[in-house]
Symmetry: C2
Subunit: 271 residues, 2 copies
């Protein structure tokens, strides 16, 4: 079945042929790929080589393998939009509302259009000594006491979180309102923008830095990510109206189902 005049490795030739079947639709999303022994016979190669070929397709995100069941052609995953520009401004205005109004809906509901009961949420606070990289962002000496808050947000119906977030505040600043030091107060209606407002801080400017990298084994497990899929890391640096950095947060999204959105309004040309 493989071409004797082709000197590429046989597992690659097999992968190429399977890839072509998928691209052309002869193997449609959701359909099973033939079993490993079948493919071994069909391509006249060993099962080891078949597995190598399938591994390539897995790394390309084209197939998903389930132990004891088979290998299936993957459908592209549904993206969850995470609009940042709109969310930040909305969150800031919401911080001015009274308690009852703020309680009605959270930022993630605003992003995703889900109702407030559809979302599950867990938070954990702990004081930490600033590692050098993070101290630098705040412009404080390494070792300065920070409040580290970790969050997992998930859709109630699904086991898998939408994101894992770690947010840092200067501990002594947050201590201006002792309620901000206790994770029992989460979920806090109104989010970080409102929390900071209780200590007289107004966020004026946010810088987002976006990168991608392979997940750590822990992240792969929590986010239910398969081999070859990266996470998107969003570092958000918030400065107050005096230009001082007041919050640094790092949000980890599953790369195969997240779409991060920014709207940029440009200044008009003078006429």
């Amino acid at each position: 079945m493989t071409n004797p005049h082709d000197f590429r490795p046989r597992y690659m030739q097999a992968a190429d042929e399977l890839r072509e079947c998928i691209r052309s639709g002869r193997l449609a999303p959701g359909e099973p790929v033939p079993s490993e022994p079948d493919l071994a016979e069909r391509f006249a190669i060993s099962r080891t080589s078949v597995r190598h070929a399938i591994q390539l397709l897995r790394d390309e995100g084209l197939v998903r393998t389930e132990h004891g069941r088979g290998t299936y052609v993957r459908a592209p995953r549904k993206h969850i939009r995470s609009p940042r520009t709109a969310r930040y401004q909305w969150e800031k205005e919401r911080a001015l509302l009274d308690d009852a109004e703020r309680a009605q809906t959270g930022a993630t509901e605003h992003d995703t259009g889900l109702a407030i009961g559809d979302l599950k949420f867990s938070a954990d606070y702990a004081p930490v000594d600033a590692p050098p990289g993070i101290a630098e962002r705040f412009g404080v000496p390494p070792g300065t006491r920070l409040l580290c808050r970790t969050y997992e947000t998930s859709v109630t119906r699904e086991k898998v979180p939408l994101s894992i977030a770690r947010s840092y505040l200067i501990y002594d600043m947050a201590a201006g309102n002792p309620a901000l030091l206790d994770d029992a107060n989460e979920p806090w209606a109104g989010g970080t923008m409102h929390q900071l407002r209780t200590i007289g801080v107004e966020i004026d400017r946010i810088t987002d830095e976006i990168t991608a990298r392979p997940p750590t084994p822990g992240e792969a497990q929590i986010l239910d990510i398969e081999r070859g899929v990266s996470v998107i890391v969003l570092c958000k640096i918030s400065a107050d109206i005096t230009g001082r950095v007041v919050e640094f947060s790092e949000v980890v999204f599953p790369g195969d189902r997240t779409e991060i959105v920014y709207d940029i309004q440009l200044a008009r040309w003078a006429n």
Copy 2:
């Protein structure tokens, strides 16, 4: 060497131990990992299992393997910052300058701080019929004639491109200035914003959508991406002052060395 009371697969135990060596610094970036036969003996497993373990580490981005030389601990890759907000506004203002001023520096030089001679650039124009996904962005019927422009930008000293971009314009609109239809006019001093200005279009609002996915084999080759590393895909939708979408472009960045940056200025609270 592997623990008989641990019932996890042996290749995972081996991977765990190597991962711990790297995290702890006992194997520092740049240092070689022991050879496969060495590791097989040390862990008392077959070379196949050793290779399986190393593959895991490769997928996590921790090591890099070079045929005939060995496997080395990877240093984190240097990130190239790609600030979007600042770039877009800068590019828009630059479109108003005269030819000589515009020729002095391009957008990528603005982003990276490199001089104009440091960058290499290739462009290719071709008319295409709009596929459904892209037609939808423009709000035109599928099959409408578009001008598809592909670009590769690289640093002259390095073989590997910084990004691959594909930009689409409505063909009939671009034809308003025939110079816009010919890739021989690239690099066009002033970029797309100036090109559009020659046909009376002012871009007013840009929406960026960012996702990550595994590279296609072609992208992996062009961008010199290793297994397990994803690409970051930035879809840029530009609308003119009437709200009509006038350009759609898709930029593919290597995920392991790109950092995309947005600055968001929030409205002040009324006092």
